[in-house]
Subunit: 413 residues, 2 copies
């Protein structure tokens, strides 16, 4: 018996095109008359039987959903045990899918989330329950294997490129008698994809960012300070982008792990931006400003990359088509070929629990900027602008109070 | 003799519409055949005879200039003494204006800059030199007297409103199993205009920001923590915006002034965002994220407010018209009347060296949010979107290498 009742869920950090995939997926499923629910807070909604209806959403709702960043359904950070280690931890999950006759889960997320997809399939096999799982890649970190890029990354990169281009102009204007160094701390605990992408804002040496620090290349603090000093003397100012997870080559530790605890014994909050600025202040005595966009970078729905929005929609559509085709469980990877991307089913194991670093050949010789090959990779990702509609000066984002739980079991088709 | 050779200059922090005024001013002066130079780095360019030509800029250059944030001519932070206190400090300035036959200065800036305008007029009087000075308001801080708002503020406010709306969606999505409090630190050392403006993003209680901390209302830390805790328990999360200059009611000092020095004896960098996050971590034990947009907020040319761009242009045009009309020296204030703004000449003394706080009636009863009257003030300022053109994924901003110094004295007309 094929019921084909679908649940869509996602977990991990949000992006500005996550709802875009959800919207496209709901619309496509509706077209094919495939009942679709959405889990509140990813796997948690499946464990606790908190599933949202989608049949009450109008086309206008879906359009608004598509342009809304973050996730209106909620995300989560929750690591499930393997079923064979702790089967009881899975009881809630299997109760929920039984109650709603779910036989298909579309799970969107990064390496942790796809680890969850793999565990779901293992658990279903062990309980002898017919369940398929289709993984859709998603992470602003862009560190997934099995896909050319991860949806969410291009928009975040575009926002950061634009922001650092603007902040560079600001620093240049002020440097004569005020701020000489500007630092932007960007996301990326283990990889430098976002940081290196900002190099695209620098099309000539005068334009920042001038220095890019990534986890791929541990930072020799003295050397970096000397280079910063050199650039300030040469250009009048220096603009630096640093991944939050950069490593001090002297200690082998992340910069933020070396920080002192405060008076209460708590680890000091604040990351590499403050730390780098403090070093510049102390050793070079240049006035320094730093920015930490934090969540602003990954939820910047007001400036999204065209290819990101386009492929986020395509992935939602293709996932439903795979359900209908009764395809095997898989990850929907993106493959680049001749300036275009194709969605290629690949193994969920490909990307679970692994982090893809930036290839070394994408870096310049000094490891602190981009190579021509790197530019080739990033250029098509940041091209094209997609804007939301506005009302009274603010983007028209989806109002989550329109969401309602599915109370009744889904009918069996 | 009326020569009407003009220099335009500006100083202080930049905005995303400063070049817009410059562009409009150059185009209007050209139409009226009034020779116009632009000082590099504001008053410093006048002191050191570093003036840029404008006659080499094409219409296309001027269009690109108009959409470029920050200042392509450079700004400065430099306080001139009164002429009667130190006449020698003015020699460079008067040499420059003599060499280029300048008899008119258009000076754009905030309270410090208009203090410079006033001092220029004093000095010229004491040296018996005929010189006029027209001040154009500018500051993202919006703390100028003599004008309904300051160009630069609406775009910055719009950017911050949009950003906090987006970060609120992010925090809401994560709060179930991760971050429960999000803090955004915004500019405003002495006034809370920008912080309070972000309240516009919150159209219902569920939408952040939920708490706004401003220098106008010293923060009772225990009370604020209790309220934050209450909101997290009620809504699941809490979004806070804080001006960088907020005051601790227990000490009467700015929060950032109470911070410890580091191992080198240097004052710790990092502002209220980190401090507030640390308190929440320590006392409430909620996972907290914070963003510091810093320069990103005032140079966000990729999202500007319609009225800001429109009036920035009008001010450039009107300043040149006043030169042509041989009007008295003045500040070009903006007066709001029936949903429209008029440019009204007012005294330069009105805004020099004074900071206009947010009116108390713009705050809600608990002093941590906005009142209906406040909404009325901010609404028309953030309405309407202006975007730059893009090329290969990045805004097309003016290339400063096209600027050239004026080598020869200006001809006398």
């Amino acid at each position: 018996m094929v019921t084909q009742n679908i649940v869509y869920a996602h977990s991990g950090g949000v992006t500005s095109v996550l709802n875009t995939t959800a919207s496209s997926l709901i619309a496509t499923a509706r077209k094919h008359q495939l009942p679709t629910l959405i889990a509140q807070n990813g796997i948690l909604g499946l464990i606790h039987n908190k599933l949202y209806r989608t049949d009450n959403l109008s086309s206008q709702d879906l359009e608004r959903l598509a342009q809304t960043p973050s996730s209106v359904f909620g995300s989560c950070r929750h690591k499930l045990p393997h079923h064979h280690d702790d089967p009881r931890a899975w009881d809630g999950f299997f109760n929920t899918i039984a109650q709603h006759n779910i036989d298909c889960i579309i799970y969107q997320g990064g390496n942790d989330s796809q680890d969850t997809s793999v565990k779901i399939l293992e658990a279903a096999t062990q309980r002898q329950i017919a369940l398929k799982c289709y993984g859709i890649p998603k992470t602003i970190d862009n560190d997934l294997y099995g896909t050319d890029f991860s949806p969410g990354f291009p928009s975040c990169a575009k926002y950061l490129c634009t922001s650092i281009a603007e902040a560079s102009l600001d620093t240049r204007a002020m440097c004569k008698s005020s701020t000489k160094v500007f630092i932007m701390e960007v996301m990326g605990r283990h990889t430098g994809w976002l940081a290196l992408a900002t190099a695209m804002a620098s099309r000539q040496q005068q334009q920042g960012p001038h220095i890019i620090l990534t986890p791929e290349h541990p930072v020799d603090v003295q050397q970096w300070l000397a280079y910063t000093d050199h650039l300030v003397k040469e250009l009048g100012y220096c603009v630096i982008v640093a991944s939050e997870g950069i490593i001090n080559s002297a200690t082998g530790n992340r910069l933020t792990e070396t920080k002192q605890t405060d008076a209460f014994g708590h680890g000091q909050l604040g990351g590499v931006g403050a730390q780098l600025a403090q070093w510049i202040n102390t050793h070079l005595n240049y006035k320094t400003h730093y920015a930490i966009p934090d969540y602003l970078q990954r939820s910047a729905g007001h400036l999204r990359a065209a290819i990101d929005v386009y492929l986020a929609k395509q992935l939602g559509q293709r996932a439903i088509e795979l359900v209908q085709e009764q395809a095997d469980s898989c990850l929907l990877g993106l493959q680049r070929s001749e300036g275009d991307w194709h969605i290629i089913p690949t193994s969920l194991h490909t990307c679970a629990n692994r982090e893809k670093p930036v290839p070394l050949e994408y870096f310049s010789d000094n490891k602190m900027h981009i190579s021509p090959l790197g530019r080739e990779y990033f250029q098509p990702l940041i091209a094209g602008e997609v804007y939301p509609t506005y009302h009274q000066g603010l983007p028209e984002y989806f109002d989550a109070s329109q969401l309602h739980y599915q109370q009744q079991p889904q009918p069996i088709i």
